[in-house]
C-alpha cells in the first residue's frame, strides 16, 4: 500500500466511534524500516501522532484506531516525527554521498507496518536499504 493512497483517509476511534482526524503523513524508523506512527491533521486536541501499535486496521474507507489512541507520544517518536515532516519531495542520498533522486511515495505493508519500498523519481528502492531519515535527506545503501 502506498502513502499516497491513505493520505487524507479518515481515522476513527473504534471504541468511541468518533473521528480523530485524517492521515497527513507517516513517521518512519530506518532500522528496522518500519512505520512508527501516522501523522494526523485536524485532531480535536491531543497529539497529532498515532503510534503504529494503536492502529487497529487500515480499511478501504477509514483507519480504525484502538481506544486511548491519543495518549501522549514518547519523546523518541516526537523526534522522529520532526524529521519525517513532509517526506515526499525529500532528496535521497546514497551512503557514498551521491544524490539518487527525490522521494515520491512510500510503499508499506498495511498489516505489519514494514516499509517495503521507496518510490523515487528514478525508480523504486528496496525498503531494507533504508539507513536513515533526516530533515536534510533520506539515506539509503548504495545499490
Amino acid at each position: 500500500m502506498l502513502l499516497s493512497e491513505i493520505m487524507d483517509r479518515p481515522v476513527m476511534d473504534t471504541d468511541a466511534a468518533q473521528s480523530i482526524g485524517k492521515v497527513e503523513g507517516l513517521v518512519i524508523t530506518a532500522r528496522p524500516p518500519h512505520i512508527a506512527a501516522l501523522r494526523l491533521k485536524k485532531t480535536n486536541g491531543g497529539g497529532t501522532l498515532l503510534t503504529w501499535q494503536d492502529v487497529h486496521a487500515i480499511g478501504p474507507d477509514a483507519i480504525m484506531a484502538r481506544a486511548n489512541a491519543r495518549e501522549g507520544t514518547t519523546e523518541d517518536i516526537a523526534e522522529r516525527a520532526a524529521a519525517c515532516r513532509s517526506l515526499p519531495g525529500r532528496r535521497i542520498l546514497s551512503e557514498r554521498g551521491t544524490e539518487i533522486g527525490l522521494l515520491q511515495d512510500i510503499d508499506f505493508d498495511p498489516e505489519s507496518g514494514k516499509v517495503l519500498g521507496l518510490l523515487t523519481s528514478s525508480g523504486t528502492l528496496p525498503g531494507q536499504g533504508l539507513l536513515g531519515i533526516g530533515s536534510y535527506a533520506v539515506v539509503v545503501q548504495e545499490a
Binding site: L93, E95, G97, T98, E99, L131, G134, Y136, A137, V139
Partner: protein, 191 residues
C-alpha cells in the same frame, strides 16, 4: 576507476550523517603536505549567517565522499579543529597561488586548484590545476598537471620535474589518462 575531483568542488558541500541530517558544510580541504593526501576538512555552519565552526572533520571519519555530499556516521565524527587542521596547515599551508616551476626552470603558471583522487581508503593529491603564465596556444585557459612524488613545495613555488609539462592535460578526464603514464615514466627514471 577512481574519480578525480577538484578541491574547490568539495567546498560548500554539505556534511550529512547516515541518519540524514546535514550538520555542517565543508569550508576548506585540509592537506597533509608531507604525504600529499587529504587529512580532513574545516567546516562552517549551514545557515546563511553562520560562520566557521570550531569543529572539523578528520578524513578517517568520512564514510563517503560523493558528488553531492560528504557522508559521516554521526555527529561524533566531528573533532576539535586543532586536531585536524593545525599541524598539517603549519607544515605546508595553502598551495593556491603558488608558482609552478619545472626543475629546468620553466614557469608553467600558478596553481588555481588541487586535483584529488578519491579511493576507498584515502584521498590523495593527484595533480594541480594551473593557469598558464604566458604559454602560447593556451591563452589563460587552465590546464592540469599530474603530481610528481618528488617535488619541492612551499607557499611561494612548487618545483616539478620537466616531464610533468609533457603530461599537461586540458581537462580532468585527460589527466586521469595521463597520470598512469606519467607515474610509469617517473618510476622508470628513479629506478
Amino acid at each position: 576507476m577512481n574519480a578525480l575531483i577538484l578541491a574547490s568542488d568539495i567546498t560548500k558541500r554539505p556534511v550529512v550523517t547516515l541518519g540524514g541530517e546535514a550538520v555542517a558544510q565543508v569550508k576548506d580541504v585540509v592537506f597533509d603536505g608531507h604525504a600529499g593526501r587529504v587529512s580532513g576538512f574545516t567546516l562552517s555552519g549551514r545557515g546563511l549567517f553562520s560562520g566557521p565552526l570550531r569543529q572539523a572533520l578528520p578524513w578517517e571519519a568520512v564514510t563517503g565522499l560523493g558528488p553531492h555530499a560528504v557522508m559521516i556516521h554521526d555527529e561524533t565524527a566531528l573533532k576539535s579543529r586543532d586536531e585536524v587542521a593545525d599541524s598539517a596547515e603549519a607544515a605546508h599551508g595553502n598551495v593556491l597561488g603558488a608558482r609552478v616551476l619545472t626543475d629546468t626552470g620553466t614557469d608553467l603558471g600558478h596553481i588555481t586548484d588541487v586535483v584529488i583522487e578519491v579511493t576507498a581508503a584515502q584521498a590523495l593529491v593527484a595533480g594541480y590545476e594551473i593557469t598558464p603564465a604566458k604559454t602560447p596556444g593556451h591563452h589563460g585557459r587552465t590546464v592540469f598537471i599530474p603530481l610528481a612524488r618528488t617535488i619541492a613545495v612551499s607557499g611561494e613555488a612548487l618545483v616539478v620535474p620537466a616531464a610533468a609539462a609533457e603530461f599537461m592535460a586540458d581537462d580532468l578526464s585527460a589527466l586521469e589518462k595521463a597520470i598512469p603514464e606519467f607515474r610509469n615514466r617517473m618510476s622508470g627514471k628513479e629506478a
